[in-house]
């Protein structure tokens, strides 16, 4: 990190240089990916099942290190960061997991406040915020419910609320509308667009839902067998 080149707006929010990823198996799940996303952009990531969408997102939300290449976030070379610095960086990223990852012993309210607790905020200070956000995703009445008593769509909205509570600089959503009806899907996407416009949040959404992609007319990246076959530079918006 060069302190004369701070985290400024002309720095890409996300930059991947020659990134490959291989799990324990022999084949690359992602091969030689180059990618630059400016701050405040809204981008779709699509591709067939198994193409590597979730794997690419894992690299971005720092759950995994690439086998090759470099991942830069907000101008920081992630491979050069200490564990403490990585934790701090993760707090600037909101993630909606494909499988939600809600904690089953915590209420809806507590699941949403988790990122705030992790960053050391006292319960008294964030109550209003959490309640507002829960109302906004339509869970105002289910605040004290445990995740297993919520429907799939409600769980999905809960995991979205958790990803947003910290007002992240980067929002990564993996199939965030997989379990909701088209109407709710649109509402969620509108929410993302609003967040992007109002707070300038950089947003990446992996989805299969072509109708939503068409409707929201944002840049699209397509993955095919681990290759980025159509990146944001070439897309026809």
């Amino acid at each position: 990190m060069n302190r004369f080149r701070p985290d400024t707006a002309d720095e890409p929010a996300v930059e991947l240089n020659g990134v490959s990823l291989r799990y324990d198996t022999a084949d690359d799940v992602l091969s030689d990916i180059d990618l630059r996303l400016k701050p405040g952009t809204f981008t779709f990531l699509t591709g067939a099942s198994g193409a590597g969408k979730s794997s690419l997102l894992k690299l971005l939300y720092l759950a995994h290190a690439p086998t090759q290449g470099e991942v830069h976030l907000f101008g920081l070379r992630t491979s050069a960061l200490s564990r403490k610095q990585l934790s701090a960086l993760r707090r600037r990223i909101g993630v909606v997991f494909q499988d939600f990852r809600l904690l089953d012993h915590l209420t809806a309210f507590e699941n949403v406040s988790l990122p705030l607790r992790v960053s050391g905020q006292k319960p008294g200070t964030y109550r209003e915020e959490v309640v507002d956000l829960l109302r906004w995703v339509g869970l105002g009445e289910r605040m004290h419910a445990l995740p297993q008593s919520l429907s799939g769509g409600e769980q999905q909205r809960l995991s979205i609320a958790r990803a947003l509570i910290n007002k992240p600089d980067l929002l990564i959503a993996d199939e965030p509308t997989g379990n909701v009806d088209p109407e709710m899907g649109k509402r969620i996407f509108r929410l993302f667009v609003e967040l992007n416009r109002r707070l300038g949040t950089t947003i990446i959404i992996a989805t299969h839902d072509l109708s939503l992609i068409r409707e929201f007319d944002a840049p699209v990246m397509r993955l095919q067998h681990g290759l980025l076959v159509r990146d944001v530079e070439h897309q026809s918006a």
Partner: protein
């Protein structure tokens, strides 16, 4: 809003099993330690007593001569007491050989002097024999320490065995606690992952588990320790009420050090569990980015 739910769930069946294992191991470790200590202390007391004893056999003399001999012995350095055994005492001593009727008349009986030596610089058997021989007695002194040396040797072995058993049990307890804690943690891997990806520092996550398992170890250790205390108290009580004070049987009593062992064990269990939890969390976190 009431107090927030702990980030780690209160407890589950797995923790109940872990609680039982820790409690049982602490119970066994405490009982083994107390028993080993009791046995060793009893045997040690017996041999220390025997160490300070000597018997002098006199031939060709009568009771009066024996009393003179006893007072000569009393006058030597390193002697605490010296007295001629009476006929009754001899009868009692020899009852296993001759029965309660006493020694039949006509059986040639030596006269015996029971001698107690001092603890520091005790008189040696040879010196006693020589002093009496010089005074014209036909006497042989024998130190009981000669018989006791067998027991001494056995006692040394016993001590090593006892320490070995206690060390082994303690090590097993720690290993099992670590292993069980590890398993319990892996089952809550989801929580570790979510906290980690939400930006929690390693320290933060580890301390959640450390606090939880420290309490668990402390509670389980206390339970095991308390049951061990109850069992020991019962043994002590029943031994006392039966009035049996057989000297070589493990003599359980509850002295200061026993109570220290009872108090330290739960803390040890808590620390072992805490250490295992911290180590496991840190290890599993280091394996992810």
């Amino acid at each position: 809003m009431s107090k927030p739910t702990p980030l780690l769930p209160e407890s589950d069946a797995r923790e109940a099993a872990l609680f039982f294992v820790v409690a049982a191991l602490c119970f066994l470790a405490v009982l083994a330690t107390l028993t080993a200590r009791g046995t060793y202390t009893a045997a040690h007391a017996w041999s220390a007593q025997v160490e300070g004893e000597m018997t002098v056999r006199l031939k060709d003399t009568d009771r009066r001569g024996a009393e003179d001999a006893a007072s000569i012995v009393r006058g030597l350095d390193g002697i605490r007491s010296s007295s001629v055994l009476s006929q009754e005492e001899l009868n009692r001593l020899l009852a296993p050989s001759f029965g309660p009727g006493g020694i039949p008349a006509g059986v040639p009986m030596p006269i015996l002097i029971a001698v107690e030596t001092t603890q520091d610089a005790p008189a040696e058997a040879g010196v006693v024999t020589a002093a009496l021989t010089d005074a014209g007695f036909n006497a042989t002194a024998e130190s009981h320490a000669d018989y006791a040396s067998e027991v001494q040797r056995a006692l040394g072995t016993l001590r090593i065995a006892a320490i070995g058993i206690v060390v082994l049990l303690t090590a097993t307890a720690i290993a099992v606690i670590a292993f069980a804690t590890h398993a319990a943690l892996l089952a809550r891997r989801d929580i570790v992952d979510v906290l980690h990806l939400a930006g929690a520092e390693d320290r933060f996550i580890a301390s959640l588990f450390e606090r939880r398992f420290w309490t668990l170890g402390l509670k389980a250790g206390s339970a095991g320790s308390l049951v061990a205390l109850a069992v020991t108290a019962m043994i002590v009580f029943s031994a006392q009420s039966a009035g049996t004070q057989s000297q070589l049987l493990p003599q359980l009593s509850l002295d200061f050090w026993d109570l220290v062992i009872l108090a330290v064990t739960p803390v040890g269990a808590g620390l072992a569990a805490r250490w295992a939890a911290g180590g496991t969390v840190n290890h599993s976190l280091k394996s992810v980015l």
